[in-house]
Symmetry: C2
Subunit: 214 residues, 2 copies
DNA sequence: ATAATGTGTTACTAGCGGTAACCCGAGTCT
DNA sequence: AGACTCGGGTTACCGCTAGTAACACATTAT
């Protein structure tokens, strides 16, 4: 009975937690990443201290919120990456999946790319480096894993795979961010251009006529 | 006399402005991007309203501060990009210049990558997209310019160049950020790995032995 | 009945960005 | 000389934020 009661309470707490996260989601989607704890609590129909009891601080809530979306996106990406097809096709499918996601829900995207950032208090330590959004890091590691598993890169394969994983993810991220802001072309064109870049067209391109021997 | 007096005042104001920026620089380097206006004012030996008279708001100060560093970094990069050498060599030199810069002054780097972000007030609008650090955008455009000017990419050359510019900058950024945090290899190795990626080694690599026909 | 435990609230602190109001010294006009 | 504007400076405040302490109600165990 003791244990059953415990689990009963835990279940209730978990349900509660999910409700709170959904409310927070709505507010963040509406107000952007700087949504206040007050606003989130109001949306959930409760008051601040409850939020703090559940998530510790704002960073905790945001981390929990980000984890859900990050996991969802990573799952889609894994599917695209694991499809049975030519390498080029898989790369394009993965790029397209990512771009479709950020296109469909730009506010979620924007939120995910902005780390906690807050923590007004004793944040003296100020960890230099590793400041990037966790999503980028996780995508990079994931991609590195796939590359290292599937490709034969000679010695130092693992390290090369990790560099490439993070590099490719960064390329995707920056190009996607720019594209989302300016919409200079269709998604398909962007995908093709990026894949071309990865396929070495930069190295293969000829110098412009009239240019000196550079 | 009227004009000379005006210029006199303007000169004084400009000197003042430089002093304030240098003080702000010291504080930001010490306290990180969340340095408070109070702290900056104190470091400069004055009080808040003066800062606000000069820079409007925190975003203005941070923009001015960022512009200085951004301009400096962009100049170095232009030098590396314009050096008379083979393309591969220039690419490697540019990557190395960027990585050396973020390695030498990681705090500046971290500051530059975090946009204003604050503006607690009426920031309702919340521009989706284009949220990236201005530094990334400027580097991307700059690189796009160089690529478009120098390379013969067939039709749609300009658009392709812009995609590549932002993509390559993003690759550099993400890989650099990860590298700065984990230091998994030397700078030279990182440079070579990234250049290899851009040179199409991803497409050229063979499948791993034992893997199915993917 | 009474003690204990968990759930919720109100009411507060400290610090932030930003501003209004005042203050004082230097030059200027009468 | 004396009133008078005017630019640079400060103090004291506002509204907001994240985060917390302390109190109130219910439910259950003893």
């Amino acid at each position: 009975m003791d244990t059953t009661q415990r689990t009963e309470q835990q279940r209730a707490a978990d349900r509660r937690r999910r409700e709170l996260l959904e409310a927070a989601d709505r507010v963040v989607l509406r107000d952007g990443p700087q949504a206040s704890m007050n606003a989130i609590a109001a949306e959930a129909g409760i008051t601040k201290p409850i939020l703090y009891r559940h998530f510790g601080d704002k960073g905790g809530l945001y981390a929990a919120l980000a984890k859900r979306h990050t996991d969802a996106l990573l799952n889609s990406l894994r599917d695209a990456l694991d499809a049975p097809a030519e390498r080029r096709e898989r790369v394009e499918a993965t790029l397209d999946t990512y771009l479709a996601a950020i296109e469909a829900r730009p506010q979620v995207y924007r939120f995910l790319m902005h780390p906690a950032e807050g923590s007004t208090g004793t944040d003296q330590g100020f960890d230099v480096g590793k400041h990037s959004a966790p999503l980028l890091r996780r995508m990079g590691e994931e991609l590195a894993q796939v590359i290292g598993d599937r490709l034969d890169l000679g010695p130092n394969s693992q390290q090369l795979a990790r560099v490439w994983g993070h590099g490719i993810v960064g390329m995707m991220h920056a190009a996607g961010d720019w594209w989302l802001g300016e919409r200079p072309c269709s998604r398909a064109e962007l995908v093709k251009s990026l894949a071309d870049l990865l396929w070495g067209r930069l190295a293969a391109a000829g110098d412009k006529v009239g240019g000196p021997g550079f």
